[in-house]
Amino acid sequence: MANRRDLIGGLAAIAIGAGYLSMALEIRHSALDDAVGPAGLPKVLAFLMIGLGAILCVKAALAGGPARPAGPVSDEAATAEATGIRFSGIARAGGLLAIAAAYLLVVHPLGYLPSIFMLLVAASLYGGAALTWRVFAIGAGGAVFYWLLFVQLLGIPLPPGILG
């Protein structure tokens, strides 16, 4: 049985390489171009990515079984290999992404304070906090804390929205 993770990784690398190559081929030449040109390195990188992706696919197909722990042997980067993320977790992570994306949509029209309150409440509830008055109180306290820190203390012009 092929190593599924590496196979997916290899295929993703090929897709990224191919997409990048198609864009690299569209880089326009100019009279100022040097011997290598602005498209020189991108083309090399694209072919490298496709080639490496193909090698990873072949290795995954030949090796079979679960992958050896890949990645760095350095200290903090080792967290990447220490986590046992299962594919079923993708949907849960996607939910958090959706909450984050929703924040981006509402922060300008609603303003920073209400948006960050909603973000705190939604992310807490999504993370498993119980639906009680506490989650709203903590969200409100957190929103005011961040507003005081960023807007009042650091003087950063965060979107005022409907309150502005």
Binding site: P38, P72, S74, G127
Partner: protein, 503 residues
């Protein structure tokens, strides 16, 4: 002497001392939270450094690194869960001491060994960085190109499990580095007609996304159980007799920490475990190791705090970040337009000397802040994960928005977070991507400038002795890393054969 006066000047004329203390406190809190590595703890601060003066910003990040290395030992000792990977070796005897009712003493040994490690590491940093960079004053474009290649060759040792995956991750970083204005002709590449991409993608956004946002996604995906600290330990420092007994272990930790810090890709985890093993080998109380040995706490904690300083040596001297934490530190330099590497001691000497001064303050302050932060750390570790993650997400969004007041930056951070999550799920390493991103411009611009100078003749790279030296070291590095697994397997087979013959 000029170094001391400039360091003192920075400490007296900027708020660097204040930020050294804040950084240590923040680092201890981040390190104590299992899942937040020193690099993530530092990355969360990156957006805030925009509004600071360069010296204060760099001191804040470096002090965070120092604090996080100690903070990791708190849950390691109290709940058998290392807050950072570098604290994993501390679990062995630290938790055993806790079970014997000596948690306070274990924490005290960890804290004061960390302070000793930080101070020794700082001495090595000051002594080695500038002389190493002196050679680089005569660098030309071919030398810089070769330096970039040497930096990328680190990937070979960072991709022990799969070199192909390490290379793919590096190429991805190099691809992102090509976005924006072409370094030679000034034309646009991969900007999709967006003005936001004309200046390229700022490494800080990618780092925050890869390290911090992907961690939130991972924690959401895993939804692990809540860890609780029931202990109410108070820090207790060792007496004179025990302190004397710990000296050999601390010397071992600082020597190994120095070497591992300078070696790109090695880092605090390797240093901690090596120090633990060597401390056991040279100890008069070998039998205590694994059963609550104070030396078993002192050696790894000295080592990982030494690494927090010595890992900065290759960054300052050559501009090469050898670990995630130093990559984030590099991000801090880039934010302030400071080019790290050989010329930094000429162009931004006061910032570097301010960094030294700030790290000295942070190392000493660690002793007091470490004691004061004990209660807040336990309180924070006991908070429900759902709230913690929500507050971290809000902090990231608020901090990143404050950089340019741009929603586009937040989109880039989210994209980097998704890519980071996918990379972790598929077990790709991060650091090669960061290396590719920060070294991509250096490599491409100097390669092409070299060819412009030589009229397209590649022999220019062989005529520059510095470039030849760097390329040769890079080749040795790559070949050595490739041969290492085969050599280890051969040694293991040989040991097996010897055992068979004896048996």
């Amino acid at each position: 002497m000029a170094m001391f006066s400039q360091a003192l000047d920075v400490l007296l004329t900027t708020p660097a001392v204040f930020f050294a203390i804040i950084g240590v406190a923040w680092g201890i809190l981040g390190g104590a939270l299992p899942g937040l590595s020193p690099s993530i703890t530092m990355a969360l601060l990156l957006p805030f450094t925009y509004s600071l003066d360069p010296a204060s910003a760099i001191v804040l990040l470096a002090a965070t690194y120092i604090g996080a290395e100690y903070g990791g030992s708190i849950p390691a000792i109290l709940i058998r869960t290392p807050g950072t990977n570098a604290a994993a070796a501390t679990v062995i005897d630290g938790f055993e001491m806790n079970r014997q009712g000596k948690a306070g003493l274990a924490l005290g040994i960890s804290l004061y060994s960390g302070v000793i490690g930080s101070l020794i590491g700082l001495v090595m940093l000051v002594a080695l960085s500038e002389p190493l960079s002196a050679v680089a004053l005569s660098f030309r474009p071919p030398s810089y190109f070769a330096l970039g290649i040497l930096g990328l060759s680190v990937i070979a040792s960072l991709s022990g499990g799969s070199l192909v995956k390490g290379l793919i991750a590096a190429v991805l970083g190099l691809m992102v580095a090509t976005i924006g204005t072409d370094p030679v002709t000034g034309g646009n590449r991969f900007t999709f007609g967006t003005a936001d991409l004309l200046a390229g993608v700022e490494p800080v956004l990618i780092m925050v996304g890869l390290f911090a946002v992907s961690e939130l996604f991972v924690q959401t995906a895993e939804q692990g159980g809540q860890i609780r600290v029931e202990s109410r330990a108070r820090i207790e420092f060792p007496g004179i007799a025990l302190a004397r007994r710990l000296v050999p272990a601390q010397i071992i930790g600082s020597i190994i920490g120095t070497f591992e810090g300078v070696m790109p890709g090695a880092g605090g985890t390797v240093a901690s475990f090596m120090s633990y093993n060597e401390a056991r080998r040279w100890s008069r109380h070998k039998e205590e190791f694994g059963n609550g040995s104070p030396e078993g706490v002192a050696a790894p904690e000295t080592a990982n705090n030494t690494v927090a300083a010595t890992a900065i040596i290759p960054l300052l001297s050559f501009g090469i970040p050898g670990s995630n934490s130093t990559a984030v530190l590099l991000g801090g330099f880039l934010i302030h337009g400071i080019t790290v590497g050989p010329m930094i001691f000429v162009k931004s000497a006061s910032t570097v000397y301010g960094l030294y001064g700030g790290m000295l303050v942070a190392s000493i302050a660690l002793l007091f802040i470490g004691m004061a932060m004990m209660g807040p750390c336990i309180w924070l570790v006991n908070r429900p994960r759902a709230y913690l993650n929500a507050f971290i997400l809000a902090l990231i969004f608020s901090g990143v928005f404050s950089i340019h007041q741009s929603l586009f930056d937040l989109v880039l951070v989210l994209i980097a977070g998704v890519v980071g999550f996918a990379m972790r799920m598929l077990k790709f390493p991060f650091l090669p991507t960061v290396l590719g991103l920060v070294l991509g411009y250096l490599i491409e611009s100097n390669y092409r400038r070299s060819l412009v100078l030589s009229g397209g003749d590649h022999s220019i790279f062989l005529e520059d002795p510095i470039a030849v030296g760097f390329l040769a070291v890079a080749a040795v590095f790559v070949i050595g890393s490739l041969l290492q697994p085969a050599l280890a397997a051969w040694r293991s087979r040989r040991r097996g054969e010897i055992r068979d013959v004896r048996g």
